[in-house]
Symmetry: C2
Subunit: 378 residues, 2 copies
């Protein structure tokens, strides 16, 4: 029987546990659980845990109501349930005993709420409880999740294509969209992403027109998109749990200022330099440096107020981060954004963002819609 991606990832997780002489990872609903089991569950008030021991199969501990669904949707064979009036911590203690997890570090899912953390800590306490060291699941799973496998890349490529389709459609329909409010365009983008096959938005779309573009944290408001306005549009969607994220700065109609044209050219050049710098073996900060140098040489260094990029996968912000001090060595399969921005207070902002995946000898772009500010550029 062929090993599924989820099984392969779980095996890699268990190898890391054994290498570190650790006992187990305990997951709750979220990206880590989805990564190893495919279960995309929403956090709730009920215990919903998955114990991944260093040896043997993982064990799901879920309410009886969820038992059938988990059995149907995951490769994990051992699903332990309890009725609404039973004590879930008893099942947890038995699992710890059954798996022979008497000692060694236990890694808690980074997002696990305290109401479950305390129970898990107590269950893994046992007689030597006070000595049990705890860590975070990201210590084990972070490096694995940073390198995407083929199944993940299929989803990420498709998510990128959908974002590109929508970016293209905004250019095509620019004449109709000018005059709309930022908020209305954000809803339009959301609608188009869904129509193109995306599964919701991976974050609330940013539509920042004119001077609003100079505020990197502006979402969208009631400002109307006027002719000549540079508009920063930053959005993405989900495909099979994986995100896309792309940014273009577009002038929907009319002519922008000369300074905007100059700055846009600088940001585009910086973005290209960043993508060119991506290859396995280099540190993430080298990519940040390549981008920042172009912006600094043009005299806009102070106006580039954020890091160059962030990893994207099951979460919209994850490892690896591409910043001035990022010593992460890039490896094939890593997916992250390259997104320089220049923000001129009271005037405009420019940001251009593509996701890239590191390949054996460079990188592949996951976004390739036109980067020009002119909507009629080819």
């Amino acid at each position: 029987m062929t090993e599924t991606p989820h099984e392969r990832r779980t095996r890699a997780c268990q190898e890391r546990l054994r290498d570190g002489d650790a006992a187990a990872v305990v997951l709750s609903p979220g990206a880590n659980l989805q990564y190893l089991t495919g279960i995309a569950e929403s956090p709730s008030e009920r215990h919903f845990l998955c114990v991944v021991p260093r040896e043997g199969g993982p064990v799901f501990l879920v309410p009886e109501l969820s038992g059938t669904q988990v059995r149907e949707q995951t490769w994990v064979a051992h699903v332990r349930t309890w009725a609404d009036d039973d004590d879930p911590t008893a099942a947890l203690r038995e699992t710890v005993a059954d798996c022979g997890l008497g000692s060694g570090r236990v890694f808690l899912d980074d997002t696990m709420p305290a109401r479950f953390c305390l129970d898990v800590q107590r269950a893994f306490g046992g007689e030597r409880g006070r000595q049990r060291p705890f860590g975070l699941a990201s210590e084990v799973l972070g490096p694995l999740r940073a390198r995407k496998d083929d199944a993940e890349l299929v989803a990420l490529r498709r998510a990128g294509e959908i974002a590109d389709e929508v970016a293209l459609s905004l250019r095509r329909d620019a004449a109709d969209l000018v005059g709309r409010s930022e908020a209305s365009l954000a809803r339009e983008i959301e609608h188009r992403l869904a129509a193109a096959g995306g599964d919701g938005v991976s974050f609330e779309p940013i539509v920042a027109a004119g001077p609003n573009g100079a505020k990197p944290h502006h979402g969208h408001g009631e400002r109307t998109i006027e002719p000549g306005d540079p508009v920063v549009v930053d959005f993405g969607t989900w495909v099979d749990g994986y995100a896309s994220d792309t940014t273009r700065t577009i002038v929907f109609a009319g002519d922008p200022s000369e300074e905007f044209e100059r700055v846009h050219a600088v940001v585009a050049a910086a973005q290209a330099a960043g993508v060119d710098a991506v290859e396995p073996g280099v540190e993430a900060r080298a990519v940040d440096r390549a981008v920042r140098e172009v912006v600094e040489e043009a005299g806009y260094g102070d106006a580039f107020v954020h890091r160059t990029g962030h990893g994207v996968g099951l979460e919209i912000h994850e490892e690896p981060y591409i910043a001035t001090d990022s010593e992460t060595v890039l490896e094939p399969g890593m997916v992250f954004s390259v997104e320089p921005g220049v923000y001129l207070d009271g005037a405009f902002g420019v940001r251009i963002e593509d996701l890239v995946v590191v390949t054996d000898d460079g990188c592949e772009r996951l976004n390739d819609s036109p980067r020009e500010w002119r909507v009629d550029a080819a």
Copy 2:
């Protein structure tokens, strides 16, 4: 200077800490933090904590970026910040030392993610770290939050009025709404709640038409509302952080089955009996019993598959729960739903829900739109 509601609640929390010989409550973004400080922050990857020691003022520990906002929006005088490249756990350790919190139980916010729990546990560890007992903030704050104060009741009443306005408007416009899909009516309800002054929906509205009404967990789908369909509509909104939640079962046009008429009368009588049973000093299960007896006597006991109610406040589900085994003694200020339902598989469902607040000698309804299934009932 008059004490604000937030200060009064914090003082009550500290009294409970001292009574229990405990050290502190540590909060993260969520309902408990909002309850004591008014800060309605979204959970993020950055440390954002509030230490409430048994004596003296609370201390906020937040990123520098959030410092100004927290200082402006809360009564808490001590706001400690750190820059993005500083270590937040150092500030946390210093706070523990400054507050003289060397021993005693520490209560972690129930929703605090493990990534912060472990840091807080380490910071409170100190030399005697392994002996420090931890609990959950709800153990301290749950009983306080269950009894709403005047400021909370103002918000809850207004949220209820807005829900009632929308329920009334659905009856008024019934002739126009028949033929719409469940999903479309759900969006319409969302729109009307906002137009009436609500701040978003307190949960995704339920619109369950015809046989879909027999599935208590049905949200809404593409089914069209047909003449003669009983439609379960269950929705609410937020006002100043407090939720409303009301359910009516309405026939938008045409005539339903005789059995539906009979069942609707039973559920309405059960709901009235439940509200009548609410008074301070009785156990919550007595309310459940009063409701269930009416349904059982009518022969539909097996079709009433859920508890009678749940508390509502800063969260849409909170203490007190009104169930068969709830021994909570009702006290003035407690707010909860009374919502019997009967679900006849393949046919229809009926649920009627109002929120009530316990008064000194009975209760006050927070919902009072018509409970009849006929839209033209007065």
